[in-house]
Symmetry: none
Subunit: 216 residues, 4 copies
Amino acid sequence: MTASPSPSVADPAASAAARASKHDTRRDQLAESALVTLGKLGYARTSLREIAQHSSYSHGVVHYYFSSKEELITYCVRYYKRTCVTRYDEIVETSTSATELQERFATKLAETIREEGPMHQLWYDLRNQSMFEPALREVVLEIDGQLEAMIWRVITRYAALAGREPALDPSTTYGMLDGLFAQSLFAWATGPASAREDVLSVLTRRVDTLMPSLLG
Amino acid sequence: MTASPSPSVADPAASAAARASKHDTRRDQLAESALVTLGKLGYARTSLREIAQHSSYSHGVVHYYFSSKEELITYCVRYYKRTCVTRYDEIVETSTSATELQERFATKLAETIREEGPMHQLWYDLRNQSMFEPALREVVLEIDGQLEAMIWRVITRYAALAGREPALDPSTTYGMLDGLFAQSLFAWATGPASAREDVLSVLTRRVDTLMPSLLG
Amino acid sequence: MTASPSPSVADPAASAAARASKHDTRRDQLAESALVTLGKLGYARTSLREIAQHSSYSHGVVHYYFSSKEELITYCVRYYKRTCVTRYDEIVETSTSATELQERFATKLAETIREEGPMHQLWYDLRNQSMFEPALREVVLEIDGQLEAMIWRVITRYAALAGREPALDPSTTYGMLDGLFAQSLFAWATGPASAREDVLSVLTRRVDTLMPSLLG
Amino acid sequence: MTASPSPSVADPAASAAARASKHDTRRDQLAESALVTLGKLGYARTSLREIAQHSSYSHGVVHYYFSSKEELITYCVRYYKRTCVTRYDEIVETSTSATELQERFATKLAETIREEGPMHQLWYDLRNQSMFEPALREVVLEIDGQLEAMIWRVITRYAALAGREPALDPSTTYGMLDGLFAQSLFAWATGPASAREDVLSVLTRRVDTLMPSLLG
DNA sequence: CATGAATGAGCCTTCATTCAT
DNA sequence: CATGAATGAAGGCTCATTCAT
């Protein structure tokens, strides 16, 4: 019988892996925390000190886990994407008719503003900043592409369920829908709280109405 | 003939008016100068020092004419709008057929990116910042409304020339077109210089193709 | 007759010059103040905050007059040199015999340690740092050359008064004397206060004894 | 024959000794590693993190073996001295004529710059810092004394081989030679790489020429 | 024993704003 | 009126040091 090694002499590879995983966990925690602040204040107004203060960590920790502000932001954006870029996939997979998909998609668009408004504001902020700040471009372009692909999955499935073809190319389709989404987000964010639900239901209705015309 | 009075003995009312006019002139000159810098660097990265340095004025004068950075920005945005919010009116007024209007509009959209790209980048930046910074909201909402109205003038005229009705409401129409415009601006700004003209001609083609479907 | 212009419209060139001169005056004042702190703490331990605190100015002023720490330091070194690089010239010019020059020079070497010790410590610190920090090299090499030239003026005059020739080249001569000077400065700085005068008189005696052998 | 006891059952005294020895070994390894970094960056620019990163140890271990940065530096200096303070002793012992010793010494001076330049830069840095930082004084003074003694061994042996007496006292002799050495080190470190060998051969020649005059 | 996570003071720099002249 | 001098609060970042594991 082979004695199982005492924990203290556990194989180094495993311990290194554990450590690395813990490291990543912290980065994720920090990113999550940072995203809240970023969503509230926007890119330019958010300082690393602020981020730390709104988390349970000290100022130094942020610099311990991220070598620069830029790296933190980039990490945050990518972290955020992991969740968001598949937001409609469940709808795509489980809808059984074109009408159902169309309705659920339109509803979900509004819902995601209601529930993650600041996160979307941050996204548009970053996408814009990337026009001034080359350092942001890579990650923004990467995610923008994924968002377009996500929308395209919705549309192609929608077309399939309807037995038709998409009328427009992926990019145009994304541009139009994104324009409507951004517009509603803006109205939602800047309008009076009392009008928020109206803004969202208008969005839902619009997209619901519009979708058929996205098919040829 | 009336001798023109020396400034120092002018009647008080006239001198006050002259002063006020000079005051406004200075503000406009500063705004014009500031807009160039703002378009290049974006809202957050532009400091008042920078603005002053890129103008013929001293650092102090900026605060002499504007009580704060915020007021300067607000003034700049309004100043900028005066020019821009009528950008397509000439096309609306002089086009004699739906096809002509449609083509000239689509062309002009691309042209304005080529010639005033940074100014548009600034606009989207400010519109976004206004979601985080309430102080910017009033002026941004005001201008956004004017932009929507401008687009609506295009569409209603387009419909009239075609002998049809707009298919969508003003807001939806604006949202969709603005989405396509923003998308192209982004690609234009972040892509390689060599691809810029391609981006613009794609935009022109898209809008040209799309416009008929904006009519009922 | 030409009316002499009122002061308020004085010729711009003159006012610009006055301004520039005032600007330079402030830089000099700041440099002077900074040198005290630098001499006390050394290059690495001196922060711009510290410099400001030991002056009558605020922290921001330092950055207003110097674009970076490096520029301040460089300016300080050059400012300091203006005074120092001619330290022995009066002795060179007014001594009427080799013996007098030799004695006065040896005495002055010690005196300058007593009266400007920290400044010399700073010089050796900077010269050393320049081996690690390329940014300092230019100014340090420039001044080192001037110091060597200064010493050489002493030696050539000394040789002339003695009716002989220098035995060594300028560089070797400077290296040897500088070695003795640095050694005494070090002993003076690190030894007990009670031994300081002894250190200085030893230096004087040594140099006095040594100088004849610097002639051929 | 005595069975060597397994470590875990060693008698306490031996194990304590072993531990202590291991402790010292670690300190030496760390010192050796630290010296490389210190020589490259200088005292002020070297952080403990940097040292750890350039060694095979973790960041924490530095503080485990040294209670503070200061103690590490001090230890490093002493460690370095062990090697260096006897650098010329072999020459002293094996040279069989004054001329041989003189030539070999002059050659060796240049050689040690070539081969251990950074280490000498560090020494001058530390000696200088000790004028600002009392904590460094003790160890610096100790080593400076040993260097002086080392030089004196050279000179007295040189005098003996030449059948003469040293012309100057140990301190003066050391000061002068050290001045020349420091000067060459500085030129070697800050000048263009292409001039390095020239600098060294000049030093060799100078010292070679000078040494006879160090005898009475 | 040894590690790396965590801390917080401090550094250089930027900037909107105020103010004496 | 207009200027640039001056201020002080942040901001990103580094680092020696402490500590839980």
